[in-house]
Subunit: 229 residues, 2 copies
Amino acid sequence: MKTAFRDVKKDIRRRIVQGVWGAGDLLPNEVDLAQEFQCARATVNRAMRELADEGLVERKRKAGTRVLSSPVRQARFHIPIVRKEIEGRGAMYRYALVNREIIDTPDWLRARLGLEQGKQVLHLTCMHYGDSSPYQYEDRWINLAALPQAAEADFDSVGPNEWLIAEVPYSDAEISFSALTAEADVARHLSCAQGDPLFLAERSTWFETRAITYVRLVFHRGYRMTTRY
Amino acid sequence: MKTAFRDVKKDIRRRIVQGVWGAGDLLPNEVDLAQEFQCARATVNRAMRELADEGLVERKRKAGTRVLSSPVRQARFHIPIVRKEIEGRGAMYRYALVNREIIDTPDWLRARLGLEQGKQVLHLTCMHYGDSSPYQYEDRWINLAALPQAAEADFDSVGPNEWLIAEVPYSDAEISFSALTAEADVARHLSCAQGDPLFLAERSTWFETRAITYVRLVFHRGYRMTTRY
DNA sequence: TAGTGGTCTAGACCACCAC
DNA sequence: TGGTGGTCTAGACCACTAT
């Protein structure tokens, strides 16, 4: 008789997937369910709350709890530090700075990060290797207005990602996945052919409304981002 | 003084991101925090549990709660029904069945789904359009050993995705994202050029250890999957 | 306005595991 | 083995919103 809320959750989930309660159906309220399961309402509440969190049911005050007609299927992806990702695969991690420049903020970047005035940004390009094979090409832009100390940082030995993690935590981030074909420069760095399809992750981060950084991460050919749910 | 657990959560998060508690540090225990915040231990517990769920801290009995040294960054992606995704963008959804065949299970599919013996599978290819523009090319494989009724289903008007949702819920799924270049056939269906980079989502689903289906979803050129976290 | 979920409380017992 | 988090309870008040 331990972890009662898990049992309640399992049972309710079972009834939903088995069709006892079909799509759109109204479930009994928490008091009734608590009586049925012989537990406290708080226990039912937690079970139901987690089911709602997983996108299986929808809860509204007064309206009650309903089975979602088309369950909002969602998956969680872990966004690993590239070094850890490589080392986690048992490979030797190596980092190299390719280029570094300080320039006026390009318009497209200002638009993307919602910057008001065009100060300067630190633009870095780097490579991450696993066992000497190119793993990821990083195209990093750091807002110097928000992080002036980045201009002094030494990115020869430490990647901007790890530097940023140690320096400034972020509060909000937006991430996108898409596909692109390798242009000459990227192809050379990633040791693939021009025109090869590559997986691209883009991330913008903010700390309390202040834009911190925007990064394009281009993965080696054949990279797959996988998760179970 | 409402939703106290959110306030507690916010405050603890603030202290972590501001460095009051650094990476690896041990946080006060729940009883002490409850006293500090003048609330019940259950309230602190919920706040801390959610922070742990978000990957900011790590909790162990007896050992206490510690700030994770490298926060496990994770993002949630909603896996929408393609019809809803298209309609959600204000476009008209249209579906078309391209091809349908019943064949012996190919070896690569058997390996991928962990099928033991090679029965037959239903292989469907379909197109999904938004306002008459190609949106997604679907390459669907359904395990007939687990779902014999799929052989009789009419996929001329209803997409396999929606049919499956109504027919069998799944319990486990694996999803992968990657990039590929358009081959002649796909390029024709998606109205793009051969060699264009396309975003690919692959999903395998099981229901209580029984493999249900494997699908390759190739999105139109320029598709981006985005989320905030 | 009434019904439902959202949350808090104070107390309790228990499981785990680092010390 | 003792301290810590994990969970349950019974009751209470409140916020939201469908009707």
